[in-house]
Symmetry: C2
Amino acid sequence: MDAIRFDMPLEEALTTQRAVRRLKPDPVDDALVLRLVELALKAPTGSNAQSWEWVVVKDRAVKAQLARRNRQAWSIYGWLGRRATRGDAKMQRLLDAVQWQAEHFEEVPVVVVACLRGVRPVFPPVAATSYYGSIFPSVQNLLLAARAAGLGAALITLPLWSTFSVRRILGLPWNVTPCAVIPLGWPVGKYGPTTRRPVGDVVSLDRYGNKPWKGRAAAGIA
Amino acid sequence: MDAIRFDMPLEEALTTQRAVRRLKPDPVDDALVLRLVELALKAPTGSNAQSWEWVVVKDRAVKAQLARRNRQAWSIYGWLGRRATRGDAKMQRLLDAVQWQAEHFEEVPVVVVACLRGVRPVFPPVAATSYYGSIFPSVQNLLLAARAAGLGAALITLPLWSTFSVRRILGLPWNVTPCAVIPLGWPVGKYGPTTRRPVGDVVSLDRYGNKPWKGRAAAGIA
């Protein structure tokens, strides 16, 4: 197999990455999946510990068990979400895609589960943020690399509502925590730009609430 | 000011991004910093809530207060780290850089603090991972964009050891949690490739511990 390259300009990858949930059942090459994880490993980790573990799930029986957990969480979350966003067409479309994913989870060709070794601290807050800060930068690398490769991907956590159950399904030891699930496959639809509030609305200068750039995009700031 | 572009190929940005801690005191344009945050906002968030808040610290007095918190944590962490890695030249060099940063924190031109609105759940684990999973993908976008712009950056959490204190310094409300600190500036040294274990060592297939690609890089898998 030829070397896989990800030559898309960074800005294009960043600005067109989005959750792609409707995926074809067509297989994805192992080498491509491994390369995505390899690029994920380039992300920073606290104290450079690199204490991650990645489980690539292709076996349909294992996917079916994760799918069941996902549907259980979706049956509550989806109902709440539909109610809370009634009349919001954009959010209803997002929930349609999440529902599609829940219904077709077993058919997704590859499901990547990103895990962390080591005890998950709940206190102080800085310990928890350092812990999760050692896995989500790498998950984002994986999502960006998937986008550049034209693979559909999304970051989800619903299947993890019972870490006890997911540990049993994947054979994870007690001290390995599943943190994120990324279903991967060739997309039915396509990637495209996302919409966000103006950056000036969420940026304070020096002190929270001091928003000199309110309502403005970066391009408008000289 | 001309539009700032980040045309570096994604693969180059991913593979050469690393913590750059020795920074020049030279100023960094506000427009560039805002564009980095704007690209950070393109990352996914749980339920697309986008409940982040970013504080860009340029005021020397505020930086000095964060610097003090950072040095307090470093005085313990650095001592432990030096002891634990005695004889490991690579880790000692890493700690040298962290120490340099602790000593020069006030001189860093821009310190970005990434925060999340909403109550930080400690249980169940899936709630905590969804929470932090809504800020660290965006932090990674910011680090990659900084790399493409040639700006030095690093993801640190030491200054946050007392969230109480950081809330007071930055005027954050009780329900806004500081999650990550990113000192930004033009680098004294340069970016370069990082080393990682072979991807096959950290990837299991279908079940934890089943490692068919052990010892292999993605390039060796057909």
